[in-house]
């Protein structure tokens, strides 16, 4: 229809022009470095300083930790220089991982009898099996799962570890040690501190003057002093308070001290959540005729706890790290047992203490870091978009 005679004069491009490359200064590694490492003179100076520091530290560190390290060995001669009575050349220094490998079982279970070690291992398995589904938001049946993990699991674990029932031989708590003790103390601390902390936080906001005062006094007293004094208090004064002749297990005393300490901190975290709930929620619950416990349990607490989950997990992380303090009241948690193993004459050398401490620090780091990552994840997951 259109006249095709002057087609040659028309120009309609039928296909897109290929995109041009961005200017070469804007792409690639070089541009990235220019933007992120050498943006200004000051940045360049900083980058060079940081690189120099890394060059100064990293090679020596990697050498010490991995390359010069001793991975296999049976006693101290492997990790000592000739001058120190070992086989390494003079001037050698490196991590003695052979020491950690040799002590690994001890670090995990303490002096728990070797034949009975299947029991703590079984506890680890039950622990993982009940906790993992609880932590995954998608898995259903949260309430029975929570009861299993927070109530049933601790009871079963106690009987499994301590024995004395079903024909299991009794293993005294003084034989427990290592990571096992660290995990038990922090787990009990978590299980106890959450409900007690909620009650204390409610008490602190209660309208009953005396109960409020008592809760404030407890919280502020505990938060005002270092954990180590609370542990001393639990280990030296608890026995005095009980009727003469009754003895209270050292392990139990440490657990009580840690739980008291964690509860006070937990109470403050939860109070923060309670304060963030608008007044209308309380009034709405009242106007529906709900009782106090219904109001708190069904309306206020679910919202408050959701708000402060990061704070709660931070308290857990803090408590997990703080359990290392029980080694000061001569208990053999992970740090305590690592320290006591330095004295082993079979392994004593210049590098074993540092190696052991690095191992202990790494284990603690692994647990705490995963907890904080999990906290980040759950925070994003629970974010219902009400945040400003």
């Amino acid at each position: 229809m259109a006249d095709n005679t002057n087609t040659s004069l028309q120009f309609v491009r039928r296909e897109l022009v290929a995109a041009q490359k961005p200017p070469s200064q804007e792409i690639g590694l070089l541009a990235w470095a220019r933007k992120n490492l050498f943006g200004s003179i000051f940045d360049s100076v900083l980058t060079i300083l940081a690189l120099l520091t890394l060059l100064w530290i990293l090679p020596g560190l990697i050498d010490w930790l991995f390359i010069d390290a001793i991975w296999r060995g049976t006693d101290r001669t492997f990790c000592a220089t000739v001058a120190q009575g070992g086989i390494q050349p003079d001037g050698w220094s490196g991590a003695c991982w052979a020491f950690v490998a040799d002590k690994f079982q001890l670090y995990m279970f303490g002096s728990y009898p070797v034949d009975e070690r299947w029991r703590p291992m079984l506890v680890f398995v039950i622990f993982a099996a009940t906790l993992a589904p609880l932590l995954m938001p998608r898995v259903p049946y949260k309430v029975p799962n929570a009861i299993a993990a927070l109530v049933v699991m601790p009871v079963i674990s106690f009987f499994l570890l301590h024995g004395g029932v079903f024909g299991l031989s009794v293993v005294e708590t003084s034989l427990w040690g290592g990571l096992l003790v660290t995990l038990i103390i922090s787990y009990v601390g978590i299980v106890v501190s959450l409900p007690v902390g909620i009650l204390l936080a409610l008490g602190r906001r209660s309208e009953m003057g005396i109960i409020r005062m008592l809760c404030v006094a407890f919280i502020e007293l505990i938060r005002g002093v270092p954990l180590i004094t609370v542990l001393f208090l639990a280990s030296f004064m608890l026995p005095l308070f009980l009727p003469p002749g009754t003895s209270i297990d050292k392990f139990l005393r440490a657990v009580i001290g840690v739980s008291m300490f964690a509860s006070a901190y937990m109470a403050e975290v939860i109070r923060g959540g309670l304060q963030a709930i608008p007044k209308g929620q309380f009034e709405g619950a009242d106007s529906l005729g709900l009782s106090y416990w219904q109001k708190m349990g069904l309306i206020v607490m679910p919202q408050a706890i959701k708000l402060v989950i990061p704070g709660i997990v931070n308290t857990f992380i803090g408590m997990f790290k703080d359990t290392s303090l029980v080694s000061i009241i001569s208990m053999y948690d992970l740090l305590g047992i690592v320290r006591s193993s330095f004295a082993d004459a079979n392994w004593v050398s210049a590098v074993t203490p540092l190696t052991g401490l690095i191992f202990a620090g790494f284990v603690f780091w692994l647990f705490c870091f995963s907890m904080s990552r999990y906290s980040n994840f759950i925070e994003r997951h629970l974010d219902t978009g009400h945040k400003r």
């Binding site: 938060r223 080694s327 620090g361």
Partner: protein, 397 residues
């Protein structure tokens, strides 16, 4: 209608029965709590008395006057094993305060640098700061203390192979030796000059501000103040003929004499506390700076304020409001964490108290002293910070 209302009001009692009345109910609950608590206390009290009697222990604070009989490695005030327990506790408290004060200064500087580093536009600096924070936040303080004490400071050479540093400082596995200043006659005048300088700087700042308000021109403040605060004392020092000598540490064959010494216990505790707390302070600083709305920066730039001044006059004053409360609790944490000194034998309040406890068996008294002192420190700090916070808080119309 009216019939129903009348019926209803007839059925409704004027007041609920007493056991449904909130007033009586709460009174009953509180009374019950008091009764239970009082019962528990009486029970524990009688048990304690009985236990003490069986163990042949007396109670009371009289023992504080008796001879301590143990030595302390580091004492800021004169102390010997003949001093009383009370004196020993004083030494411990001063040592706690010393390590806490030094630690707070160091950790603030370190935390500030790392916190700003985490917001840097420089990728490498940002990553390094992140690695630092994630590493130190997730390791127990006690492990870090032992790391310094057992790992690093134990690796220092012995006395004969001491590391000699400039200005007569010496480092070996017994500690860190540095020259002790001895002030000659008239040194008090230097202090007076310092006080005068600070006062003058303060007055000059006020005048400068008034002038800026009146005329819009800002007279030089910073350099004048530096000259006043630092210059005046230095001038006095020189005029007096430099009345300052140093007691230099001298390396002998088996020991080092003279100078001041800081033991490895103090150093490892101080370094560990500073490094550990700095990770938390860095996070607080970062959150504080990021908590100031971006519009503030942009508005300041739109007004033509330079970046440095924007930071100082617009961002920081607002960030400080967010930063101060959590920073206080970190300072308190550092002070309380200094009690871990007991693990490496630095004679702080808890370590000294622990020794006394072991010697005398006075658990109740010693724990009571600890609680009293730490709670007082906490309360005093909170009161001060609440006051400061109110002063800094946004004045809203």
């Amino acid at each position: 209608m009216t019939m129903e209302e009348a019926e209803l009001s007839a059925r409704r009692p004027d007041r609920p029965v007493f056991y449904n009345d909130p007033f009586w109910r709460s009174l009953a609950y509180q009374l019950l709590t008091i009764l239970v608590l009082a019962g528990a206390i009486v029970w524990m009290w009688t048990n304690t008395l009985e236990n003490l009697k069986r163990a042949n222990l007396s109670s009371g604070f009289g023992f504080l006057q008796s001879r301590a009989g143990f030595d302390l490695a580091q004492a800021l005030i004169p102390y010997s094993s003949d001093s009383s327990y009370f004196r020993a506790l004083e030494v411990g408290l001063l040592n706690t305060l010393a390590v806490a004060a030094l630690g707070i200064v160091t950790t603030t500087i370190l935390g500030l640098l790392i916190g700003i580093g985490r917001l840097s536009s420089n990728w490498l600096v940002r990553k390094l700061a992140t690695v630092y924070v994630e590493a130190f936040r997730n390791i127990p303080l006690l492990v870090i203390i032992f790391f310094w004490y057992k790992g690093v400071l134990n690796a220092l050479p012995n006395v004969r192979e001491s590391i000699v540093m400039p200005f007569g400082m010496i480092l070996n596995n017994r500690g860190f030796y540095f020259p002790a200043p001895i002030f000659g006659e008239g040194s008090i005048l230097i202090l007076v000059a310092l006080a005068v300088g600070i006062l003058a700087a303060f007055l000059w700042s006020r005048r400068a501000k008034a002038q800026q308000m009146a005329t819009g021109k800002r007279p030089p403040v910073f350099w004048v103040n530096v000259a006043l605060v630092l210059g005046l004392p230095i001038l006095t020092f020189l005029v007096l003929g430099a009345p300052l000598t140093f007691d230099m540490p001298v390396a002998g064959k088996f020991n080092i004499s003279g100078g001041n010494i800081v033991g490895p216990e103090f150093m490892s505790l101080y370094l560990a506390l500073s490094f550990y707390t700095a990770a938390f302070i860095a996070e607080i600083v970062r959150a504080g700076i990021r908590g100031v709305a971006k519009g503030q920066t942009e508005a300041a730039y739109a007004l033509g304020i330079q970046p440095g001044r924007t930071m100082r006059l617009v961002i920081l004053p607002q960030a400080l409001r967010i930063i101060i409360p959590p920073m206080t609790s970190q300072y308190l944490n550092l002070t309380k964490n200094s009690s871990l000194a007991v693990a490496i034998g630095y004679a702080d309040l808890v370590a000294v108290g622990g020794t006394i406890l072991n010697q005398t068996g006075r658990a109740i008294e010693v724990v009571a002293i600890w609680l009293l002192i730490y709670v007082s420190i906490s309360l005093a700090t909170s009161l001060f910070m609440n006051w400061f916070n109110r002063k800094m808080a946004l004045v809203e119309r």
